[in-house]
């Protein structure tokens, strides 16, 4: 099975983020990490590839930096990567991202496309479904368990109350939830092997886009302002002298959650 996994490099969430005051974009350091939620997609991809004798190609769009995050996924065992890193992409919204990724995927022609359900930094949670639509693929979303047999993918689809069993014939797109599998740690052997695995870096022109198709010009959305989240105030202590439950109910009514 030929598998493509969409992965994103993001600034290390353990280090403070900075926004460019003019463009409101996150300032990207050279060192980025693999988005933690994408480790699950990579692991599912590797397991399916191992079971079927297939390959895993990573597909990513974004400022490449030193490609450390991509190498993390290659060190886990993915075979190669395609990273679209074109200055013209600056300021692209989610739909443009999906269009660019779709252009790469059309060339790669995978049997299965895997994505996370929601990225850690952008978390619009729309890219996988947009991709499925653009590629005309059935989409199996929010998988908490994945298996394959006879050219079909079966998943348990996480819902608010339990799960649904869904299946689709290949080719298809799959989005996996965090915790679906236990992502492997890269070994030193894997880290060394990742050094020499191919990383293609096509430009948007290579993918058939012009400058007007991408970036802010190609995006229907625009960030008009950014504000710091309000500081979290001190909690309110309710002391129980027999009547605390009434106080709590009143409080919950005040904030309109009941």
């Amino acid at each position: 099975m030929k598998i493509a996994v969409c992965v994103k490099q993001i600034p290390d969430p353990n280090t403070p983020y900075a926004l460019d005051p003019e463009t409101h974009f996150v300032q990207r350091p050279q060192d980025q990490v693999l988005d933690d939620t994408d480790r699950y997609g990579v692991e599912v991809g590797l397991q399916l590839a191992e079971a079927t004798g297939g390959t895993v190609t990573l597909v990513s769009m974004g400022p490449a930096g030193n490609l450390q995050g991509i190498r993390q996924a290659l060190a886990m065992g993915a075979h190669k990567a395609v990273v679209v890193n074109d200055p013209a992409l600056r300021g692209s919204g989610a739909l443009v991202t999906a269009k660019v990724l779709a252009a790469v995927l059309r060339k790669e022609e995978p049997d299965l496309v895997i994505a996370g359900t929601e990225s850690t930094d952008g978390y619009t949670g729309v890219v996988p479904q947009e991709l499925a639509e653009l590629l005309g693929l059935p989409s199996l979303t929010f998988a908490r368990k994945v298996s394959q047999a006879d050219g079909k993918i079966h998943i348990e689809r996480l819902t608010a109350t339990g799960y649904e069993v869904v299946e689709a014939a290949l080719p298809a797109l799959l989005s996996v939830t965090s915790g679906a599998v236990e992502p492997r740690y890269p070994t030193f052997k894997g880290i060394m092997a990742a050094k020499t695995k191919p990383i293609e870096q096509p430009t948007i022109a290579d993918l058939g886009f012009g400058p007007a198709d991408v970036g802010p010009a190609g995006s229907a959305q625009e960030i008009v302002g950014v504000r710091a989240a309000p500081e979290r105030g001190a909690g309110r202590k309710v002391v129980d002298e027999g009547e605390a439950h009434l106080d709590i109910v009143r409080l919950l009514e005040q904030v309109k959650v009941i």
Partner: protein
Amino acid sequence: MDFDPSPEHVAFRKVVREFAEAEIAPHAADWDREHHFPAEVVRRMGDLGLFGLPFPEEYGGSGSGLLTLCIAIEEVARVDASMAITLEAGVSLGANPIYRFGDEEQKARWLPDLVAGRTLGGFGLTEPEAGSDAGATRTRAVLDGDEWVINGEKVFITNSGTPLTALVTITALTGPREISSIIIPAGTPGFLVEPPYRKMGWRASDTHGLRFEDCRVPAANLLGERGRGFRQFLTILDHGRVAIAAMAVGIAQGCLEQSLAYAKERQAFGRPIGANQAVAFRCSDMAVAVEAARLLTYRAAQLADRGRPYRQEAAMAKLYASEIAVDATRHATQIFGGYGYVDETPVSRFYRDAKVLEIGEGTSEIQRLVIGRGLGLPL
């Protein structure tokens, strides 16, 4: 000269740190309290390739050398000495003798599992009457037809009685003043494993006394040449001493980090305790010592990886790193005050765990002896 680690070493350190913090750190205090050897976690360290770091790919290793092993041991020791010594002994004392001195048949039989961390090996050198003076071995091995018959006793042998233990390599007298190494497979009749010691530290690490009562193994279990046992274990210990130094660096690093965090957060007299020079300077000194120990350790490891002599450097790294690690645990416990004396903080465990670093694989005195002799002194 280059003090910069490679990007691959940086990435690998990060992976091992993540592994240690997720899989080991949260349980270390429980294992310590219960003297529990977590075989499952050892297997997972095996899956991560840690036991195979210095061995070639043909046996399932990654051929990445002693320096890379040091980084792994350091990161594990930073959160738990017991798992670090399990790894250190598994590699340096379990697999390394077979790799260095075994014939092809012995290597093919034992190495793939040892290298993968599916099994562990022990190295039985120390005896009740032969510790620092390891050449004073009294355990005897007598050839009877095509079998060695072994009688004697070993003490303090790491990884010798775990559920994963497959073998112990022992030194024994095979003739007058003739020491040889022999592989004893676990479960061989006459190979008796005493109950585990109740230890001050390294409580989740497995240590036993061993007895051999007419224990018979095939003549082919002789490791390397007959009569070469003394030289063999000196070679094995050089490697092990660098790895022990890495453990010491890890413990000291853990102490430094814990101390810094606590010194900034703990308030006394209306300000953080780290605002007092008496506390802050302890941290400064600790940081210098950790850095110096790390450099000594990496240098010794790099010499080994380049195939150059490193006995002197190994002894220096082991001596210095283990002594500053013991100091660091003392400083950290002091900085933590009363909280440093109770089980709830890792530093109290580090305090108990560090001391043996000045004893195992050659005491500090023995390191000074080796170094002094290396300097040409008539010791």
